[in-house]
């Protein structure tokens, strides 16, 4: 059961990483134009000013 000493912090760190990524996505408004971002990858060239 000694392995728990390592595994639990590791799983918590991974969880925290997930929460962090999620918070980042919300804060930087990654979800503000889901349809548009999906369509934009089809454009040949992303406009320079973004």
């Amino acid at each position: 059961m000694q392995i728990l000493i390592f595994l639990i912090p590791v799983s918590l760190a991974l969880g925290a990483l997930g929460v962090g990524a999620f918070l980042w996505a919300i804060r930087t408004r990654q979800f503000s134009d889901l349809e548009g971002d999906g369509a934009r990858i089809l454009l040949d060239k992303e406009p320079e000013d973004y």
């Binding site: 639990i8 997930g18 134009d33 369509a39 406009p47 973004y50």
Partner: protein, 718 residues
Amino acid sequence: MTTVAACPACTVAPAAETVAQRGARPAPQVIHLSLPAIHCAGCIGSVERTLRAVPGVASARVNLSLKRATVEVDASIRADSLVAALKGAGHDAQELDGATLAAGDDDGIGRGLLIALGVSGFAMMNVMLLSVAVWSGAEAATRDFLHWVSATIALPSVAFAARPFFKSGWNALRAASLNMDVPISLAILLAAAMSLYETAAGGAHAYFDAALSLTFFLLLGRYLDHRTRVAARSAARELTALEAPKAVRLTGQQRETVTLDALAVGDLIHLAPGMRAPVDGVITDGMSDMDRAPLTGETIPVPAAPGTEVQAGEMNLTGALTLRITTVGEDTSLRRMAEMVATAERGKGRYASLADRAARIYAPGVHLLALIAFLGWMGATGDLRLALNIAVAVLIITCPCALGLAAPAVATAAAGSLFRRGVLLKDGTAMERLAEIDAVVFDKTGTLTTGTPRLASRHDPRTLSIAAGLAQGSAHPYARAIAASTDAPAPVSGIREVPGKGVEGMLNGITIRLGNAAWLGTEDKIGAATFLTIGDEAPLRLSFADDLRPGAADLVASFRAQGLTTYLLSGDGEDAVKAMGTALQFDHVAARITPEGKLNALNNLATAGHKVLMVGDGLNDTGALAAAHVSAAQGSGLDAARTASDIILLNGDLNALGRAVATARSARRRILENFAIAGVYNLIAVPIALAGFATPLIAALAMSASSITVSLNALRVK
């Protein structure tokens, strides 16, 4: 923003003013454009390229989900030139009032809920994993250790993520009432506190995972609910932002564009052809025709000359007019309409949604049950810890997890499917009210018909081409209908509009005229027609019809098939209304109805116990729209009508409304089914909890299973 109607095309340079109002920040200024027709990657590329090619544009960004473009420009650029540039590239665009949009753009509450949802979701997963170890038989020191780790994750997460429930529940308690959030908060708090105590005492049962999954599932319901509301509200706001009321004031020789609050009685304003009157007034100079359809439902334009009274909302068609303002502010006919709407809405009272009604019965019931469990076990065994444990288990299991999801999940699914078909629900309870209707009242002009005339009489190509050549020079709806009827207009020269009469021009040295009967020396009793004279030839009659909107006949037929009583109430003349009433087989028809008459008719129907859906588009419908059990307006209608309605039809296809009623009924059925499903789970789980056999595992299973079943059932809404 006042709810005075004005067409977007006739406002002059509002962008510059918006910025001026915002303060001294010179550049860059931002223009918002609505792009209703964009749908693909190609559209994004072409819109952004077109906008950037306009000199003075710093950047342009399209948001495809909102069908909107945000353009940064320097001060020399007006929205009109951007709209014109886009038109050239084949995209319809309209300017949006930036101030109106900005008022609700930053959705802080939604993001807060989403963050709480994320935190509780990740915490729930971790604690669930740890709990699996406990459920599969961890004992003694290992179990205590796992419980302690769970506690360190769960307690801060619950404290952070469940705040929305604590706040709302606390507010309800302070107002000495109970809402759904009181049992929720109590269950979460008690579960966390009890589990902490059990952990410290080395007990077997800790409900940390239950406290977190409760928080997670309920936040999910709360977020869905919030998003549905915000989506509807921001779409409604966007419609308002399309219209910024302005007037052109004449002072001496000067013309200035001012907002409506700057106007006073006695001021002179200029009304160009194609503009709507922003206030009530009397014509002092100029001849024209006025389109009163939005106010009265009359389809045929009325001639206007000095001395004619003009009401706010009327559209000037043919000649430039000067108006002396007779009333402003509170006294305009527009405000009186708004007053009527407010009175009607006060009378309607607050509609209690199904979820509210369920919560009102459920919340006290849950508390009572938990209390009975506690007292019963306390009395039977005298063991405080055991009695508390069982009471907490009852609270957790009965906690309205599925109930919290039951209504929002269905509403989200249904509102999304309706929005894709061009039906916008402005109000959260509109769907439930729509499901209850037993009668439908229609307005005619602009609602069932397109409100724009079409040339109905047949003519030889030469006549058509001459008439069209002449008609190109006029903004009169009849002229536009003629111009649209042929591809080959004759090259008529020297076209001159004779306001209030018609247009004249020269073709091969012959004078041709297109205009009303009196001007061309003939008589016409039937109406809905205009006349053409070529040189000295006898006047030729061109008659017009107001076309039905797509789906109008099907809609009325489908409502009748669903057993709804159909009414047609119109302000238009007897003949036109009768004809349509017969053609579409309405149950009841009435013509020449005043706005007050419509409102009274609606109130009478309500008194007789009917739940009425009112469909309208004009100012004359606003009182009736507000008084109806539920109301729908055309998106192309006036702002005031849209403000008074619960449902907005965005693309003019009436058939969508028929399907909306079917969707609303199916949604209501799903909500009730969801309540039943949640009830069945409780029926099975509550006796187990009361008997003291509930374990954290059973609680987790019951909660997840019922929440997932309810969500899946919600997705069946068509």
